[in-house]
Subunit: 113 residues, 2 copies
């Protein structure tokens, strides 16, 4: 089972920031695989969504990059800047809070009964 894509919307930035908070540095493809693995294939981040997001986070100054070559193949590592670390904490807290609120909403029983 893969979640309907609309659910991912709005959480991608937070997922990326959280993974980078946990792993110091990661490259794009690695992020897609890590998320796939950690969620038992339930969340699959597409490259068309991820790369523009990484570029946006970088241009916001939240991520910094180092490019390395593995053989002849380029690999672009991303890591959190100082402000990125702060932002990561904020976004993770907000999402956790949001999920509690949603859980509460979804657990409500019939109000009309």
């Amino acid at each position: 089972m893969i979640y309907s894509s609309e659910l991912i919307k709005g959480t991608l930035k937070t997922i990326v920031l959280k993974l980078l908070a946990d792993n110091k540095r990661m490259y794009g493809y690695e992020i897609t695989q890590k998320v796939k693995q950690l969620t038992a294939d339930k969340i699959q981040i597409t490259e068309g969504a991820l790369y523009p997001t990484l570029h946006a986070l970088e241009s916001d100054g939240l991520l910094v990059t180092e490019t390395e070559y593995i053989g002849k193949r380029v690999r672009k590592y991303y890591s959190l800047s100082r402000s990125g670390k702060t932002k990561a904490n904020e976004k993770v807290s907000e999402l956790a809070d949001f999920m509690n609120t949603m859980k509460f909403l979804l657990d409500l029983k019939n109000q009309s009964a």
Copy 2:
């Protein structure tokens, strides 16, 4: 505190379907107020988001409407169709599952340590 708007994306349909599953019938404005109340103002559904969503759910056959007049003011009640009830259950289950997955992701500790 109000959640950053991007978090709401993708959950609105599910919230609406869930509220209608709990309350038999509701009208648009009522839904905005109910969500606001249930979430202590943390989630505020805008009318520009809600009405198009209600119309879409209706045209998908998930909702049915009855129009009533309160004095001279029109009020449009929405309720779940048979397929809407099924869909509501599916969407709520999926979102609950998704939130567990996200919770797991966010609770992970440093992987690089």
